[in-house]
Amino acid sequence: MRPPSLLKQEFLKKWIMGLQRCSSTKKNMNILERKKAIKLSADVAMASSRNGTTCWSRALIANASKDGNDKHLVEQILGPESERLIVKKVSIGALVCNKRIRSKKILKRSCGIRRTRKCVPQVALASSIAKWLVRKRTQVLKSLIPGGEFMNEVCLIKETLDYIISLRAQVDVMRSLASASEQVNHS
């Protein structure tokens, strides 16, 4: 695990780079556009610091590069290896995930004919209620983590760990930059 300060440094570099490119391309953005640009470059910078090792970073970059406007920004931030990262890993990941999803659906359909009983636990067993609760929570977690719908439980928890760490670093950097620039403005 890299020391957090290194992670923050790298994130800051890439983020500022992206912001500069953003401001150079487009002048006179209103506040919402600025906010979007800031957030986007922050997210992409954070994801690129993982270098495609984690699933959430790949999914985040993939989602960002879907939109044509943002794709240039993404490519600029990622640098020369952007093509490799976006094209190869993301597509392969998506393929695998789609296959997995399709096979799971087939399996569920074949077994689910018998299991038509419940979406709500009618059985008063504590264990089944607990299982249902946990399942609901994991669904919510999957919706939160980028690219989470494609993961199984084991990967999901690992990705959550990594995602939380990088989110924390991102929040720290952004907060200190915000406070520093506010102080500069006010003084």
Binding site: I16, I38, A42, A130, S181
Partner: protein, 361 residues
């Protein structure tokens, strides 16, 4: 001794895995125990041993007298640990006694062969009995006959008990255990996950894989619990997941909020690092920003302290509260260290670092 046995009892009743570890290690530790038996000093602790055995005296004697029927008796679950034996090793060294114990174990070993379906467990038990015989025969000269019958039943009880327990455990968790012990030897070669089957659990490959998967998930959940603040007190997967979800959502909201704040600060998103750093290094109210950029100068602990304080404060404050209050408290927190450092000559090298960063950009 009584107190010791009491605590051991509670501990062994708590988990069933200890019993399995005992059984699995028995074949290896049998020789050790026997050596200890032979070389141990002689004390009289028959009464404590029966207490350890958790058997009333008559039942123990019955076990003693009928080794064959020992297999058939549905005796109470012997919940002893290896630690029991280790702790209370004051058995007399009696050659005749030991030979009798060996005979019993050989008997039990042969009995084991009849019961088994696999060859491998038979080989392990045979090995253990063979080792036992070897150990016994190699040191007959060192044994001294001291204690009379009082110690006889204890040792024999123990050996019978152990064999019986070994058999029972082997019956319930044979294949997986031996597979685990055998495959653990080539653990370095193969990337398999080694799962020890617990007592009374199914041992087919599906449930083993399921158990391995569950253990992986539980290990990762523990890591998550440590990471998310306030999660280690909570027990239960659903509540822990609740906390994790809340944490992730709060972090994502923070990112949104901060990006809005940053957008509001500048008319154009042009963060002039130069001006920021020159303004900051002059004042004592340094923000966290330079501390993060020059990690080598500052002790790591400080950064972690800041981060933790930020986290805690964020947890307790609502989003609507003014951000300034928080930042100022943080700044006050690190002001003493800041003041020390600003007087330092390292401040000059700090600006060098900042210049480097600027160059790269």
């Amino acid at each position: 001794m009584k107190l010791n046995s009491g605590t051991m009892e509670t501990r062994s009743n708590g988990t069933a895995t200890d019993g399995d570890e005992v059984a699995a290690l028995e074949s290896l530790q049998f020789t050790d125990e026997l050596h200890r038996l032979i070389s141990a000093t002689t004390t009289d602790n028959a009464s404590s041993f029966t207490a350890l055995l958790e058997l009333p005296a008559p039942q123990a004697v019955e076990l003693l007298h009928s080794p064959e029927s020992a297999k058939l008796i549905a005796a109470p679950a012997p919940a002893l640990n290896v630690e029991d034996f280790k702790g209370s090793f004051h058995f007399p060294s009696n050659s005749g006694l030991i030979e009798r114990a060996a005979r019993f174990s050989v008997f039990a070993g042969e009995g084991n062969n009849n019961n088994k379906k696999n060859n491998s467990p038979g080989t392990t038990s045979n090995n253990s009995s063979a080792n036992l015989e070897k150990a016994v025969k190699s040191e007959p000269a060192e044994t001294e006959s001291s204690q009379p019958l009082v110690s006889d039943p204890t040792v024999e009880k123990r050996s019978i008990k152990r064999k019986y327990r070994e058999k029972k455990v082997k019956g319930s968790a044979k294949k997986s255990k031996t597979a685990a012990t055998e495959s653990s030897e080539d653990a370095e070669k193969l990337p398999y996950v080694h799962v020890r089957a617990r007592r009374g659990e199914a041992t087919d490959s599906h449930s083993l894989a399921e158990r391995a998967r569950r253990e992986k998930i539980n290990a990762r959940m523990k890591l998550l619990q440590e990471l998310v603040p306030g999660c280690d007190k909570i027990s239960g997967t659903a509540l822990v997941l609740d906390e994790i979800i809340n944490h992730v959502q709060s972090l994502q909201h923070q990112v949104e909020f901060l990006s809005m704040r940053l957008a509001a600060v500048n008319p154009r998103i042009d963060f002039n690092l130069d001006s920021i750093f020159t303004a900051e290094s002059g004042s004592l109210m340094d923000s966290n920003f330079p501390s993060m950029v020059m990690p080598l100068m500052w002790p790591e602990v400080q950064v972690n302290g800041n981060r933790q304080q930020n986290q805690q404060q964020w947890h307790f404050d609502a989003l609507q509260q003014p951000v300034w209050g928080r930042e100022e408290v943080c700044n006050n927190y690190i002001t003493p260290e800041n003041s020390l450092l600003s007087y330092d000559s390292s401040a000059n090298s700090a600006t060098l670092h900042l210049n480097q960063l600027k160059m790269e950009l």
